[in-house]
Symmetry: C2
Subunit: 188 residues, 2 copies
DNA sequence: ATCGTTGGCTAGGTGTATTAGCTTTTTGGC
DNA sequence: GCCAAAAAGCTAATACACCTAGCCAACGAT
């Protein structure tokens, strides 16, 4: 019985790769086990079950997206920052559609996920600072608006919701410009 | 063996009610059958299976949302139309979170769903007309932007993504105003 | 070398989806 | 009204998937 060298991290990473291929909702422990050439129950030595795995994917997605956004935002401000962060957001979601789909479904009371989400919000807040949006309440509104537009766009794109005959890239650029205008006039 | 009086419509309607209670992803044929006091396989006389049921829910959601938006938009233009349509969109999604979650996952090649989605897009296009956005390509971009923002907002709200300490209603109003500004300056 | 811990395994139970085939009810033509 | 055909329910059986329990081999520290 040679060992497969599993660990929680390895299992989650492979599950993330798998779910990006097959799509969210089609992730099964059976398939993950098969990838490792291991019997299904062996996975329970590393993760708590399917729900637990979902939650871990949510964490991975939130963390990775957060760092991607952070990278994209550094050294930029205003429209540049908006464009860069939006592009990074979309890239991550399109390259990792499976894990992205789990990002919003963390395990109940997952402190790490809360922190990872906070990182994302902080980056978005930083973008807003470049527009002079500072009032605490207003910042929350603007963050939610920005996040809604980005999430909505990529969610629709991933699910094939953009069927009309126009390049999605073009529409995304237009959306980013629209966001920029909305943020510039936020105080109005 | 008295009959239960099932039909495709009745089954789908009950499934829609159920999924709004338990949440998308927790819909099972077993639970639907139990609601009717009927054995599970009996459902197969009316729907083609779980996947088929999902697709039918997608159709119901798209149709009902479309008519709700149409009602909200009639007799309004500009910011009024935007506000009314946005409110109707959010209301439908919050009142029917389960079926809303299936709206974007129609059965492959579902012609009726395409038509129902077209109705939604048409209403949104009508809103844009009030802003003088007429160029065909530009209209598509604006529709996608509007839809992204609305979908993103309610998707985040339904999944509990708005955890910060500020009323979601307030943020939604701010988002609608931002959308209005972005649309007013669309040609810029 | 050994002993405890860890990481695999098999076996078994539960729940869901699905198909096959049977029976009863309803219905429609005569 | 009767009787055949269709429709709508059923039970039985299969196929997966998740999960738990408990066994045994491999590894690592002493």
């Amino acid at each position: 019985m040679p060992r497969a060298g599993l660990s929680p991290e390895v299992v989650v990473a492979e599950a993330a790769r798998l779910v990006d291929e097959v799509g969210p909702g089609r992730l099964t422990l059976a398939a993950v086990a098969q990838r490792f050439g291991v019997a299904l129950p062996s996975l329970y030595k590393h993760v708590g079950g399917l729900e637990d795995l979902h939650g871990r994917l949510a964490l991975v997605a939130a963390r990775d997206l957060g760092t991607a956004l952070r990278r994209a935002a550094t050294g930029k401000a205003g429209a540049d920052a908006t464009t860069a962060v939006a592009a990074a957001y979309r890239s991550y979601a399109l390259e990792h559609p499976g894990r992205y789909g789990y990002m919003l479904r963390p395990r109940a009371g997952d402190e790490e996920h809360t922190r990872a989400s906070g990182e994302i919000l902080e980056v978005l807040g930083g973008v807003l600072a470049g527009y002079g949006i500072e009032d605490p309440g207003t910042v929350v509104d603007a963050i939610r608006f920005l996040r809604s537009a980005l999430h909505g766009f990529v969610a629709l794109e991933i699910s094939g919701g953009f069927a009309m005959d126009r390049p999605v890239d073009t529409s995304f650029e237009a959306a980013v410009r629209a966001l920029d205008r909305a943020l510039r006039s936020w105080s109005a």
